[in-house]
Amino acid sequence: MNALRTLVCVLGLAAAGFVRADGGEFLDATTLLDSGDPAQKIDLVFLGDGFTRDQQDLFNAKVDLAVHEFLNAHPLFALRSAFNIHRVNVASPESGTDKFSSCGGESTGDSDQQRRTAMDSGYCAGGGGTVYRCMLTSNDALALDFAARAPDDNIVIVLVNDSGHGGCARGPLTFFTIEDDFEEMAVHEMGHAIFGLADEYQYDKEDTYTGAEPTQPNVTRETSRDALKWADLLLADTAVPTQAHGTACSVSNLPGRAFPEDIIGTFEGAQYRRCALYRPEYFCRMRESQRAFCSVCRRQIIRTLLPKLSVDQAIRFTELLIRDDEDPWPRGEGEIYMNYDLRSRDTTVSGRWPGGGESSFDDDESKTINVAAGIVPEPAAGASASIALRVREDDWPDGDDSLENDADEPLPASGPFTIDKPDYRLSGDVQPAQLRVLFDTMEIKDDHDGFFRGAGDIYVEYTVSNGDVTVSGRWPNGDDTVGINDDETEQMAILAAAIPRPVGDNVLTITTKVMDQDTFSDDEVGSETFTFGGDTAFGTTQVVHQRDRSDYRLTLSVVGATQIIP
């Protein structure tokens, strides 16, 4: 039997439905995100252990949760074309995982429990370890063998069907229980496995680091500003060290945050040490798994993924002409809005313009709109992206009116397009998404809200232009605002625009207007124009940019580059 198994494994020809001696049964492999050739992408594979054939829906739901958390983490949502994501469904004979009443000679508080599962997972490193919460397997070849059923498997994540605290990583293979919020830890672990990031938390005991400079990009022992790995990201007036424990290293409760959340500096306490190791910001996902990645980690993520990115297609709406608003009474201005679906590969981006409310049009009136409608993956060879469009006139009380006619048309690979129908004409273009502008954080120092001191109702209007292509947008979407107290940082976490690189003498300009919404007249907190020459090393040396003004501080990232796979 062993000889036969070896032969089958070596040839890599195990048939579908093959039941292993260990009892695991391969069911199927599903691609959840297909961004292209596995030879050019990072392939993530999710496996499940201790899920019976009848529990596959539970496994699928947990995978969806983890994938959603991963793909929506800032800045990964703007860089998803670097990844393929696969799910391999495997049925275990029994539900659950192995538990032990003792591990490494210590009582665990659990009762002994043996489960026959596909990958033989268990606490205490599968049974033979010394760390009880190390959820692992005694035979990691089982997991790798199932992972090989996916097209490629650079990173393998095994979800174990148990709700206790447990997780363990060894290289690119990681096991997790499906405890509450496990998906947060999954993203944290991928911070190690994919991006080489260090943990930024410290143990709760006095402990001073005396070793060499860590190789990871997000921790340092340096106290010299010029020698810092992230020196270029510091504001001129930020002290180094920024927040140090000093003689407080040995006290039981270290002092709390003394600087705004978005200040980049050196904060003592990192990589399991209380003292003499520093992290770049007070908070980070590598310190607390429910937080956002800090600026230095975002930069590392972007730099790692640049060579893997595809040239996605950025679709822009430039002009809308309304010939007949289909509003018979009263004649005059129609309150127009559009719903649309942009489709490419297996991705659908659904949107609405305007983001909030409607836009008033007289019959035969045309407006320049210049909005980034969305980004879709580059189509597979021989295929094209498409757009479905529904233009409506807001009406009350008898329901909204449809403008003639709804559209469903292919989009060009690049260049302008026009959707011309009896009642309207929408113009736009498709551009290569070479530069991606991400808004990271907004610190409000003074919201200019003189009435009711406290949270300002903040929104930001912006335009991004490369000299030839201009897009406009708003944060947050729709007509919402974000309540930000004075001296408080908010995660913006949006992809503001994706446009081609500037050519010739053109430059990239990003214009922002920070506003506080007021009942009668909104207040301007401040305006800013960022300018980047065409020779800027976008995405390599220059990624994160911070502008500090008297009333607010904006952090943004510009991703893009020649390294993008053509």
Binding site: A39, D43, R133, A141, P151, S350
Partner: protein
């Protein structure tokens, strides 16, 4: 623009505003805002994985490493790539005894070297899990490993007959590129017979 508002005048203004709002609502009107930009959502449709291998780019070689014993578990041509951190990034972990840095030489049936590469083998597993009762919510500890199985993406060449496996010695004072290598095993890929020391 900051405005100084006394408590009295604030109350009066609130009352006036509420009255205005009530009037607007009762008359079926509200302030309309047309906002810039769009509001979007993204949906990705799953599909069966395409596992057909056309023009393989790697031989996915699964090896079990225990001390100086290297055992072949499987070898499978794939369309994939090697995704590894730079040697410089793992030097400290190697020096700290957390992982081993191994290198392979892919040779054909005549012993001609077709390609080389490096890979890491963990010596510890890192346990990290959530515990809401502790500061930062993350608890971590290290679990020593005596054996580890790794999938090594070897650049594809149909003529590869065997991999000669060496371990780099991280205790040397030389830079990592010059660390001495000590051969620890040889695995034959064809015919598929598994372990060869």
């Amino acid at each position: 623009m900051n405005t100084v508002v006394t408590r009295h005048s604030a109350l009066a203004l609130v009352t006036a505003m509420l009255a205005c709002c009530a009037l607007l609502v009762s008359s079926g009107c509200s302030r309309k805002r047309e906002t810039q930009g769009v509001d979007t959502t993204v949906e990705i449709k799953p599909k069966p994985a395409d596992t057909t291998v056309v023009d393989p780019t790697v031989m996915r070689v699964t090896l079990r490493v225990t001390g100086n014993n290297v055992e072949l578990i499987s070898a499978q041509p794939k369309r994939g790539d090697a995704f590894e951190h730079d040697l410089a990034q793992v030097v400290n972990d190697a020096l700290a005894g957390k992982l081993r840095i191994l290198q392979y030489r892919a040779v054909d049936a005549n012993g001609v070297v077709l390609g080389t590469g490096r890979f890491t083998v963990p010596k510890v597993a890192e346990a990290e899990f959530l515990d809401p009762n502790v500061e930062h919510r993350i608890v971590r500890s290290e679990q020593p490993l005596t054996t580890a199985t790794v999938a090594v993406p070897v650049q594809y060449n149909a003529a590869i007959a065997a991999l000669e496996i060496s371990e780099l010695d991280p205790t040397s004072n030389a830079p990592p590129e010059q660390w001495p290598a000590k051969q620890i095993g040889r695995v034959v890929l064809t015919p598929p017979t598994g372990v060869v020391r």
